[in-house]
Every structure is written in C-alpha cells, then in structure tokens.
C-alpha cells in the first residue's frame, strides 16, 4: 500500500509540485517531427505536465515551444501566424521567436515599443532519435540527453508511436514493469488454460517468451538498483537445470525496455505526464542490427503488440473508453482473455479502468508486486532528494542510459546479473 501523502507526491506533476519539478529536470519526448513537418508550418498545441504550450517550426527549421498564452492579453498563440522566424499573435501582432523573445510589437507606436523587455515562456528543444524533446526545467540545471540505444540507430531500424492515455503516468509505468500480468491480460485462452495444443505449438519455439511464459505463471521477482534506475528480474522455471529470465530495464524518470531476446527486435516505452489525469505513451520498436523486418511491420500495422492506431489530430487511440476498446465478447469467450485486440489496447483498457489516479491506499499488494514497490521507492527517493536540493544523478549522466534488456535461459546456479551482463550492454 502507499500512504496518501506519498501517492500525492508521486502523482502530481504540475509546475511547482515536487514530482513536477523532478520530471522537469529531464529531457522529455514531446513531439513527433511529423507534427511540425516543415519550416513555417502551422503551430500545434502541446499539453505537458499541466502546461498548455504551443510548438512551431520556424523559418530556419528550429522548433520553438512557447506558453500558449500571448503575454500581452493572453490570447492563444495557436491561432498565430508562423512567419519569418517567429510566431505572430493575430490579436495585436506581437511576434515571438523560438527563444520566447518578442521581436515585434506591431500594434505599438515606435516610441512606445518595449519588445526588448518582453519575453514569453519558452523551453529549449532538441531533435534526437526521431523525436523532438524538450526541457522544461531551470536553465542552470539543463541535463544531458539520455544515451538511449534506440535514439542512436538509423531511422530505418526504428518505429515510434505516440498515444494519449487518460490516466496518470504512474499506473502506466506500473503496467509496463509488472511482468506477471502478461500471463493473464495478454494471454490467449489456450495459453491461459495451458492446453495440449498450445504446448504443442510453442514447445519448439525459438521465441523464449512464447515457450516459457506459460509454463510458470507465478514467477519470482527480484530487483537490482542501478545508476539509471532498476533492473527488474523475473525468473520462471524452464528445463530441470535452467531458469528462464526476463530482465526489464526501468530508466528514470519513466522509460522502460521490454526484455529482449538476441536476434529479435526490441521494444520500449516512455511515459510523459500530460497532466495529473493523462499521459503521453511513447512506444519504440527498434532493431540495433538491421532495418525493421516485415514481421515487425506487420505487428505494427496489425496492432498486435505494443503499438496502437490513433487519431492523428489528437493521438487518442482508435480503440478507447468511449467505444469500450471495441471489445468483442465472443472473442473473449472463445479466444483470448479480454476480447480486446492488441497488447497496447489491453493495457490501456485495464489501466484506464483503475481511474485517472489510482487510490493506492486501498491496494492489497503481495510479494509479486516487488517491482512496482521498488519503482515507487526509487522515484520517491529521487523526488524527495530534489526537495532537499539533491539533483537527480541520472539526468546529469546521459551515458548511463546506454543499456539493453534481456530475455534468456541461464543455468540455475548462475546469478542473473552475471549471466546477462554481456547481453545487457548496448552496442549502437
């Protein structure tokens, strides 16, 4: 369980809140380049941690991220004209560059102009790894970009999607690191019932997850604290002399790398608070060694795994609360646990069903929730540390993000961190 005060501390991320200040110490993904595709294209609204902002790409190709409200009379810059290296408010013609500097006050007589004294809030941005990132924290604490392997592979080796989930970010992370739910939420009925036909289908599979996941539905969890966050190690019984290990990486403040089997593609997420009741789910699939395969693209197109189709204007998923995630009850009766298509939609449905912010004072946790407990404690430590003026180590050391996850068999006498050490090293 979590005390009410700690739940509040973790879940509130508006400006000035402890968790809000903490998240603002990191570069965070905020836009797909396709949202501001060309110089002088229309500006777009961006809501981040309770702040309403406007993004635009100026004539030189730089991306600005400004407070939505013009500092003159609070008109929305969404209606602004993106022209000649700035965004001009259409109410009275004030114009701002990507740094938030007012470069023109068109409505004021020349002798009364004071544009050199006017600024609007503006956050620095970077284009990195196929995304546009922003830093919303104090300039003097601007951190390093995280050296995530997926951000360093060629574009052809990577696919990124963005969707809006109507929950607080924290329960989304908890879903991402809780390996045991996949035996149920994401299972076919054959897998759940461990039917003979399912065993026959997977017993010779090269995919370790397919083969071993169903064999042991009460896995052992253990965690290891690292410079960047946590390794969440989940052990399942395999053959008599082996264990099957799935090692998830959790990287502060809110990235994960799903366990990766050498030779297959890798997947991960980053959850960025939109506000206290919503988050942006960034999902990445990548292959460090080759362009994404036909099978990878099929999984993306068919939404069978971690990506989901969204409305391109709002990033709201096509399968959503209003249409009950397009649940097929007949399919639930006969084929899979949920009747909802795709892991992403299944996760979203169940997490949104918990309410916009989970009341963690009413939980009944067990030892299989160790990973969730560890993640919360780690975040709380860092958030409380910042309250005591201890800057988060991870933000200032981008190189610590250069890791991979792992999915592997190990002899039963081998510790996971030793046995997977080489596999967990990033290479790109």
């Amino acid at each position: 369980m979590l005390a009410s005060e700690e739940n509040e501390l973790l879940t509130r991320t508006d400006a000035g809140t402890p968790a809000g200040n903490y998240f603002r110490r990191f570069w965070l993904p905020v836009l797909l380049p396709s949202e501001v595709p060309t110089p002088d294209c229309p500006p777009v609204r961006v809501r981040l941690m309770g702040e309403d902002l406007i993004a635009f790409r100026d004539t030189n190709g730089q991306v600005g991220l400004l407070d939505e409200a013009c500092p003159h009379r609070r008109a929305s810059l969404f209606w602004g004209r993106n022209e000649e290296c700035g965004l001009r408010c259409v109410y009275h013609g004030w114009k701002f560059d990507v740094n938030g500097t007012c470069v023109d006050m068109a409505n004021e007589p020349a002798e009364y102009r004071f544009e050199n004294k006017v600024r609007t809030a503006a956050y620095p941005t970077r284009e990195y790894g196929g995304l546009i990132w922003a830093y919303l924290g104090p300039p003097e604490h601007q951190p390093e970009l995280p050296k995530l392997e997926w951000a360093r592979v060629p574009d052809s080796h990577r696919y990124i999607s963005k969707r809006w989930q109507e929950t607080n970010y924290l329960q989304a992370i908890e879903g991402g690191i809780d390996s045991s739910h996949s035996n149920f939420l994401h299972a076919s009925l054959d897998a759940f019932r461990v039917t003979d036909s399912y065993i026959e289908k997977v017993k010779n599979s090269n995919n370790l997850r397919a083969k071993y996941h169903v064999m042991d539905r009460a896995p052992w969890f253990t965690v290891k604290k690292t410079d960047y966050g946590l390794i969440i190690a989940v052990r399942r019984k395999a053959e008599e002399d082996n264990y099957y290990w799935r090692l998830t990486q959790f990287l502060l403040p809110s990235h994960t790398i799903i366990p990766y089997q050498k030779g297959l593609s890798i997947h991960g997420h980053c959850w960025v608070p939109r506000d206290d009741h919503g988050c942006w789910v960034w999902t990445v699939s990548w292959n460090p060694d080759a362009p994404l395969s036909g099978e990878d693209w099929e999984m993306i197109r068919d939404e069978t795994f971690v990506h989901a189709k969204v409305d391109p204007a709002t990033f709201k998923p096509v399968r959503n609360k209003e249409n009950q995630y397009m649940i097929d009850r007949e399919q639930q009766r006969t084929a899979n646990m949920t009747g909802i298509h795709g892991f992403a939609s299944q996760d979203q449905a169940i997490q949104e069903s918990m309410g916009p912010i989970v009341d963690r004072t009413r939980e009944r946790l067990g030892t299989s929730d160790t990973a969730i407990i560890a993640m919360r404690r780690l975040l709380l430590q860092d958030i409380k540390g910042l309250l005591e003026s201890r800057e988060p180590f991870t933000a200032r050391h981008g190189d610590v993000y250069w890791v991979r996850s792992a999915s592997l068999l190990l002899r039963r006498d081998v510790e996971f961190d030793e046995g997977a050490r080489e596999l967990m090293k990033a290479e790109v």
Binding site: M1, R364, G366, T367, T370, I373
Partner: protein
C-alpha cells in the same frame, strides 16, 4: 534466489536478499520477517521487506472483512494497523523501529 519458509528460520538462513514466503500472519511468519528486517540495509532488501509487510497487511485485511468473532477481529485489527505502521517505517529505512514494533505485536 530462494524463499525462506514461513515456519521459522535459523539465523544461518536469514538472508536479506531473499524474499520471505508470506502465506499467513502467524507468529513464525512475523518472526521470520523481523529477523530479515534486522539485517536489511540495502535498497533492494528494504523493498523486499516492504513487499512482505504489504502481503501481511493484505492478508489481515482480507481476514478482517470476513472475521465474525469480535475478539479475534480486534486482535487482527491491531496487527493490521501495526503492520501498516511497520511498513511505513521500513519504507523510511527505520528498520530498528519497525522490528521493535512488529515484536510488540507478537
């Protein structure tokens, strides 16, 4: 990464990197958890202790919903509340205080 049994454990078997097997809130289970709390120092150890106390709190909570005998219900309610406090003490790395509190509940 083995689990320790819930029916008492000898000092040699106390390993803070192991998760205590919690299936009840018996005195033996609580003594086992206490023994592990007393030697827990690292972040991971405290997380495991917190998880164990979460499990005890969950089980006592379920019992409270169904227990009809008022005397037993009061005893379980005391334990339920005490474990909640011990859990928060472990989360705050106050292992000595947590162990003392749990011992007082035996």
């Amino acid at each position: 990464m083995e689990r320790n049994g819930g029916n008492g454990v000898s000092p040699e078997e106390v390993n803070p990197a192991h998760i205590v097997n919690v299936t009840d809130f018996s005195a033996n289970t609580l003594r086992n958890i206490i023994a592990h709390i007393e030697v827990s120092t690292e972040f991971e150890h405290l997380v495991y202790r917190e998880a164990e106390l979460d499990a005890v709190w969950s089980i006592t909570g379920f019992v409270l919903v169904n227990e009809r005998d008022s005397g037993r219900r009061e005893a379980v309610r005391r334990l339920h509340a005490g474990v909640h406090t011990a859990h928060d003490l472990v989360a705050a790395s106050r292992t000595v205080d947590a162990a003392a509190l749990l011992r007082s509940l035996l």
